[in-house]
């Protein structure tokens, strides 16, 4: 056993062929695209308004038709799309990161089912018909479902992502079936519910956004502080603990952030699928594996995707519109299949 290291046999510094990593430039480009998408979202619709006019009435509301449309319809809609997309993109990245499962979707935690169930109850039992009224029920339902999922999923040895997902699936199945039972019995409830359940950013005013904003902000804050610990959790619980982390504590915080973000987004505009599932894959494609980049990339790409999809829904069947939830499923499905087929499913 010689103590001297064997000399390396002339190993040339092998450079990997361009490994993708996040960068500020990437974030700036995404931010620019997002601003562009927001402007388009203000301009495009059943009645399109030239971008110049949009900018003018944004700064100087003049009571004209164009000004009214921009301020009362398209600004709330765009702001909502921005908030919901950011929340769902971030929630998706957190969810896949904490479960280390590339197919994990925030909906697996039962939050959306809880929101849906509560809205059904709100319509059926309390006669709520206003969208802003639904938001409170949805928030309460999302919160109660989250609490139930935590209680069931942490009965033995504390909560962990796998048991939480299982509990979430069980709670979802239960709540959806009760909601279905009510909807099948009562056609009037179904009639109101379907407008919420389809997932849309249209027809909501800014009040809805303000109601859910605190939850979104807390969720985003928790996401931001968990980014660097998420990097360590990717190395497995043992390594993370050996590096000085309490894996369980950080996972609970992460899952809590997912519930806050998903619950708030669902309360604001109904369930919108695919964002949380697809966006993190797209983000990682550009940002690499470092969650300090994955999370902001996912937030921006999520917002971009929801706003772009909403714009698409306004032009494909003009003068009518398709709700963002429907377009997302139509676009998101094939995009996801393409993603899965073009690169083998990565380990995360």
């Amino acid at each position: 056993m010689s103590a001297t290291p064997a000399p390396v046999a002339a190993a040339p510094a092998q450079r990997a062929p361009a490994v993708t990593r996040g960068s500020l430039v990437g974030l700036v480009v995404l931010g620019g695209l997002l601003v562009l998408a927001c402007l388009l979202s203000l301009a495009v619709g059943s009645r399109s308004i030239p971008l110049g006019t949009v900018l003018h009435v944004l700064l100087h509301p003049d009571g004209s038709d164009a000004s009214m449309i921009v301020h009362t319809l398209r600004v709330p809609r765009t702001a909502l799309g921005l908030a919901v997309g950011t929340a769902l993109g971030t929630a998706g990245a957190l969810m896949q990161g904490h479960t280390r499962n590339p197919l994990a979707d925030p909906g697996l935690l039962g939050v959306e089912a809880g929101a849906s169930f509560a809205v059904v109850v709100g319509i059926y039992a309390f006669g709520i018909t206003q969208l802003s009224g639904y938001a409170w029920f949805a928030l309460a339902g999302a919160g109660l479902a989250s609490a139930a999922v935590f209680a069931i999923g942490s009965s033995r040895g504390g909560p962990n992502p796998v048991s939480l997902v299982l509990a979430g699936t069980a709670v979802s199945a239960l709540l959806y079936s009760v909601a279905q039972a009510i909807l099948l019995r009562d056609v009037d409830t179904l009639d109101d519910y379907r407008f919420w359940a389809v997932g849309s950013v249209a027809g909501r005013d800014l009040d809805v956004l303000l109601e859910v904003l605190p939850f979104l902000l807390v969720g985003m804050l928790l996401a931001a502080v968990s980014a660097s610990t998420l990097n360590l959790l990717q190395l497995g619980d043992d390594v993370a603990a050996s590096l000085g982390l309490h894996p369980m504590r950080h996972k609970v915080v992460g899952i809590l952030a997912v519930m806050l973000l998903t619950g708030a987004a669902t309360a604001a505009c109904g369930p919108v699928g695919f964002v949380g599932l697809v966006v993190p894959h797209v983000a990682r494609f550009f940002s690499g594996v470092d969650y300090r980049w994955v999370l902001p990339y996912s937030a921006l790409i999520g917002a971009l995707l929801v706003i772009a999809t909403d714009i698409l829904g306004r032009v494909v069947v003009r003068p009518a519109e398709l709700q963002v939830g429907i377009v997302m499923a139509l676009v998101g499905g094939p995009v996801f299949i393409w993603l899965v087929r073009r690169s083998r499913m990565v380990r995360i």
Binding site: G236, A241, L243
Partner: protein, 281 residues
């Protein structure tokens, strides 16, 4: 062979009992890890050697007894404080695809970082030194999953090295490696011990490698210690039979003089093979 004659012990288990459920896996076990030495835990499958190692790294909490680090109960210390003194590399660690070797090694600096001072010049130097020591500096910009098994294990060891702890615990560091890479990894472990004065505790399956690379052998059976001592003291035909249920000859390694375990196959005696006559002569 040892260069450091001190008999201090920073890490010790005192009457430790650990179990996942009702049945304890490690029972009333006391063990002092000598500073500056290489200690290897061996034993048959399910004897509790990994459980003991994980308990000594604070990943498991003893149901009774305690693990002492620098004289105090380890479980009273903050996790991050433990991480500044002791590193554990678990068996077959996982990493996300696309993680670069250098970024992996940099994560070993986490216990030394504060949220207000994220990455210092010192961190950079320690990471570079860890890469150089493990001979992975030229692989720094390559994704971990593109490396060979031996290279990948060296990168993981570089990460524990970047953690800059005196105590390094390795759970079966040679799993899934071919023999040449096992030697390569264990040579590196020896250098960590000799050149960097790290105290090493590891779990190994291969008895001959354990004999060759360890100052102290801890043989476990059924959650307790069957024997401890220098390889030549522990690896006797009698102990191998008692602990592993293995019939074996033990001969001196012609190169090092250390014990070499040669298992006796139950098959060989019944086979019409010329060599079987020799083995029983």
């Amino acid at each position: 062979m040892t260069t450091n004659p001190t008999q201090g012990t920073r890490l010790r288990a005192e009457s430790v009992t650990v179990g996942y459920g009702e049945e304890p896996i490690v029972r009333n076990l006391t063990l002092a890890i000598p500073d500056g030495r290489v200690t290897t835990i061996v034993g048959p499958n399910g004897c509790g050697k990994s459980t003991l190692l994980r308990t000594m790294a604070r990943l498991l909490t003893p149901t009774s007894g305690s693990v002492l680090l620098d004289g105090g109960p380890m479980h009273d210390l903050a996790t991050k404080e433990v991480a500044r003194r002791l590193a554990l590399l678990p068996q077959s660690p996982v990493a996300p695809d696309g993680l670069l070797v250098r970024d992996l090694v940099a994560r070993g600096r986490h216990p030394h970082q504060r949220w207000f001072s994220q990455w210092s010049r010192h961190d950079e130097e320690v990471v570079t030194a860890a890469l150089t020591m493990t001979d992975t500096a030229h692989l720094g910009e390559r994704p971990l999953e593109k490396l060979s098994g031996g290279q990948r294990q060296r990168a993981w060891i570089a990460m524990t090295l970047a953690q800059d702890t005196d105590l390094v615990l390795l759970d079966e560091p040679t799993t899934y490696l071919d023999l040449a890479h096992q030697i390569e990894v264990l040579d590196l472990v020896t250098r960590l011990n000799r050149e960097r004065q790290r105290t090493i505790v590891m779990v190994l399956h291969d008895l001959n490698l354990a004999a060759r690379y360890s100052d102290l052998i801890v043989a476990m059976k059924d959650g307790t210690i069957a024997a401890t001592g220098a390889p030549a003291e522990v690896f006797t035909p009698r102990l191998l039979d008692d602990t592993f249920g293995l019939s074996a000859d033990v001969v001196p390694d012609p190169r090092t003089g250390l014990p070499l375990v040669i298992p006796i196959s139950h098959r060989s005696s019944g086979l019409p093979d010329a060599r079987s006559h020799v083995s029983h002569s």
